[in-house]
Subunit: 167 residues, 2 copies
């Protein structure tokens, strides 16, 4: 049995190629590669520009990067405070089942607690049973009564261009 | 038929009591009043503190405030850009069906477009059929294959306190 030191650290601008590689692999796993149009430039602007929109944790086995977690702060009106939202969690296939995903979730829970967030949330694909069981075991509750609605692309343009009449 | 001027403007710190009142009414409508623990102080800190976590639009009929929209920016790794997330949309019962909700959604779509957001999203309770039909008519697509998982309260503390072992 090989043993190695597991470390988790916050990503910096130098890690963009690594982050991009992990996002591409995650898109393949989720069968959503056709939706993955991000580039190093869009990531640089969004993660390390004047107004950062997300943060990234990187997981290492010794000195080998093996996974990433992309997160940002959302907001709960009912709590009146920010929450922590995990957008993506990824571990390379050959290192799954060794505790890296769990370690990143624990680190994110600590960040949520330290920043006084009322909630820690993420979305899961309904067919991903292994992930669902794993998350339930960590104390996460599925918000089964809610569905996300999304407007994007041409539909977003049409909505933005809708004339609004006075009543 | 009474006619009135419909206007939509960005809320300021002076509007906090008004915003709090609308959130409380929305919580009642969603049968979630027990979860609505926000106060003027938490809203002031989160909306107008050093690091704002959300923004608010207010809708007026003439000079009477009739509704609100609370939103923030999320982030899509696949697009590599921020999105706009609508956390709450509320119109007072006696002014529903007159176009205020639609006008706020159109204004949010414009903000999303102006800020180069790739997506405009929100969550809907599955039993809220009138809202679901209204959103579909505006071009929104339900993300039926995703479920949000949430960790909060004691479960969040337990997760944050989990020991992480090296493998």
């Amino acid at each position: 049995m090989v043993s190695f030191l597991m470390t988790i650290r916050q990503a910096t601008e130098q890690d963009i190629p690594l982050i991009l590689g992990f996002i591409r692999q995650l898109a393949e796993y989720e069968r959503l590669s056709h939706e993955a149009v991000m580039t190093e430039a869009t990531l640089r602007e969004s993660l390390f520009g004047p107004r950062p929109h997300a943060e990234v944790l990187l997981a290492y086995a010794g000195d080998k990067p093996v996974g990433s977690a992309v997160f940002f702060h959302n907001f709960s009106t009912f709590i009146g405070r920010p929450g922590l939202y995990l957008e993506d969690l990824f571990v390379i296939p050959e290192m799954r089942g060794k505790g890296f995903g769990r370690a990143m979730l624990v680190e994110l829970a600590r960040i949520a607690r330290d920043r006084k967030c009322g909630r820690f949330e993420w979305a899961v694909l309904d067919w991903n049973e292994p992930a669902i069981q794993f998350y339930k075991n960590l104390g996460a509750v599925p918000m089964n009564e809610w569905t996300i609605f999304r407007v994007t692309g041409d539909a977003l343009d049409r909505l933005a261009n809708t004339a609004v009449k006075n009543c």
